[in-house]
């Protein structure tokens, strides 16, 4: 797609940098974490220099994730507050997925689906961080009763599985909606894209149609 001076700026360079740090560390976490999740995935440890290295690195990746995710949370939380129109959007999501977006309530910078995904990811990350500390055997596990460690292991595995599924949906939605990925790569979207997918945001930033 040719870049147009009239394109709308959706993300600053700092926002994109933050997003991609989170995305890359997520992939490292998911691959190293899955390795301990099911024997089927254990060979993934080879990507990290073997089982012991994967075990050593995974929690440190988690620390980088926690820091960069919190930064992203502070950047975006206020844009993701749910409104009645977002809930109405979510009630019609089936139509949207069937390819008919004519009756969808007008979305602002984010639609109901994106906002819900945002908060679900925040919830998963909170659970992963807290439970991850508890099961970090080298430093912390000895200070917790074994029942707490067992519970944390379950919570960690469950929230990680949910988060991986959510991120697959997130990445797919970006691929499915043409013209979206460039927002995260160069920061801009075409005006047509904005009017189609985020009409209320389009009006806000262009001042058109008020």
């Amino acid at each position: 797609m040719k870049r147009d001076p009239k394109d709308l700026v959706r993300y600053s360079a700092a926002e994109r940098f933050n997003h991609w740090v989170v995305a890359m560390i997520f992939i490292l976490l998911a691959l190293s974490g899955l390795a301990f999740f099911h024997p089927l995935f254990f060979p993934l440890t080879q990507l990290f220099g073997g089982g012991t290295w994967a075990r050593i690195l995974h929690p440190f990746f988690g620390v980088v994730m926690a820091v960069s995710f919190v930064a992203m949370l502070f950047r975006f939380w206020w844009l993701n507050l749910m409104t009645p129109s977002d809930w109405a959007w979510l009630r019609r999501v089936r139509e949207m997925l069937n390819g008919d977006d004519h009756n969808m309530p007008e979305a602002g910078k984010y639609n109901g689906g994106q906002k819900l995904l945002f908060w679900l990811l925040v919830g998963c990350m909170a659970l992963l961080f807290v439970s991850g500390i508890v099961i970090w055997r080298v430093y912390f596990s000895a200070t917790f009763p074994v029942v707490v460690v067992r519970l944390a292991a379950v919570v960690h595995a469950a929230s990680a599985a949910v988060m991986i599924a959510l991120v697959i949906v997130h990445a797919y939605a970006a691929i499915w909606t043409k013209g979206t990925i460039r927002a995260m790569l160069y920061g801009t979207v075409s005006r047509a894209w904005a009017k189609q997918h985020h009409p209320r945001w389009f009006k806000e930033v262009t001042g058109e149609g008020k």
């Binding site: 991986i164 697959i168 909606t177």
Partner: protein, 295 residues
């Protein structure tokens, strides 16, 4: 067979069967608490045979020394002074790995072959495959495995699998001066325990019995207890140990199911694209902006 003199029946984090053609006799170590004099010769023998040395500890005013299992002390005597209906009793238990038939450590371990169960029932850690995650510690119903600070590997009693493999009894059994520890086929050990229990009951220990808890499928280290109705008297021996439901949930069917669910989300997304096509900007809006561009 090929690499070891004991056949492996089960390997951690392995979904296919291990070689299991040969028939092996199930073994067990029987610890008769009523015969134990608390001399700690078994502790010393264990360290001698396995070449481990614990750091010099601190006397805490009790006979327990060291006060807990460590990566170097794979067996530890625990001394409990308890009031029973027979008055004050000194109950001494030799603590260490119970070698469960259904081991929680092996269930929890994510590293292939880091924990194995031989066909004779011995549960053995193979530290060269251990990644040091400590999941086995969370999985164990008896609080036995200990993580080494030196190498971040986990250690516990091997039931002297190296000695057993060449037809010897474990070092602790060999050294016990009162015959409180005996070793042999599990069948023989149960029979021997029954004889001891009859004797103890005749001496007034009406609740004497064998500790071979069914919740973990039985163990390959068993106790003869004077008070088998209250194992907790023996420094907190679990009454009815089993793999925690949390560990079963964590390491049970939820793993393949969650893996399948993640796979379905990915495949489902792809087929959504194939069946519904991409979500593109409508032609009307595109034209509207193109017109503007031309102007």
């Amino acid at each position: 067979m090929a690499l070891q003199s004991l056949d492996i029946q089960r390997r951690s984090a392995t979904t296919t069967p291990s070689p299991s053609q040969r028939e092996t006799v199930e073994v067990a170590k029987l610890i008769d608490v009523s015969k134990c004099i608390g001399c700690k010769a078994c502790q010393v023998a264990c360290m001698e045979w396995n070449d481990t040395r614990d750091a010099i500890g601190v006397n805490t005013g009790v006979y327990d020394n060291p006060t807990d299992l460590t990566e170097n002390s794979w067996t530890v005597m625990r001394y409990a002074e308890v009031e029973t209906d027979r008055g004050l009793e000194w109950l001494i238990r030799k603590d260490g790995c119970m070698h469960c038939a259904d081991p929680g450590c092996l269930k929890a371990c994510p590293a292939p072959g880091a924990i194995v169960q031989y066909s004779n029932g011995i549960v053995d850690f193979q530290e060269e495959n251990c990644i040091g995650c400590g999941y086995c510690i969370a999985g164990c119903p008896f609080n036995v495995p200990r993580l080494s600070k030196k190498d971040s590997k986990v250690y516990k009693c091997t039931l002297c699998s190296d000695r057993v493999a060449v037809g010897l009894e474990p070092a602790c059994v060999k050294t016990c001066p009162t015959g409180a520890i005996v070793f042999g086929s599990k069948e023989d050990m149960i029979q021997h325990a029954e004889e001891r229990i009859v004797d103890l009951q005749a001496r007034g220990y009406v609740n004497a019995g064998l500790y071979d808890p069914a919740g973990v499928g039985g163990t390959h280290v068993m106790y003869v207890l004077q008070h088998a109705d209250k194992p907790g008297l023996y420094s907190g021996l679990p009454n009815d140990p089993s793999i925690s439901p949390l560990v079963s949930l964590w390491k049970g069917v939820s793993k393949p199911l969650a893996s399948l669910a993640i796979g379905l989300v990915a495949i489902g997304s792809f087929f959504h694209y194939v069946t519904k096509g991409p979500n593109e900007v409508s032609k009307d809006i595109e034209k509207e902006f193109e017109k503007e561009f031309e102007e």
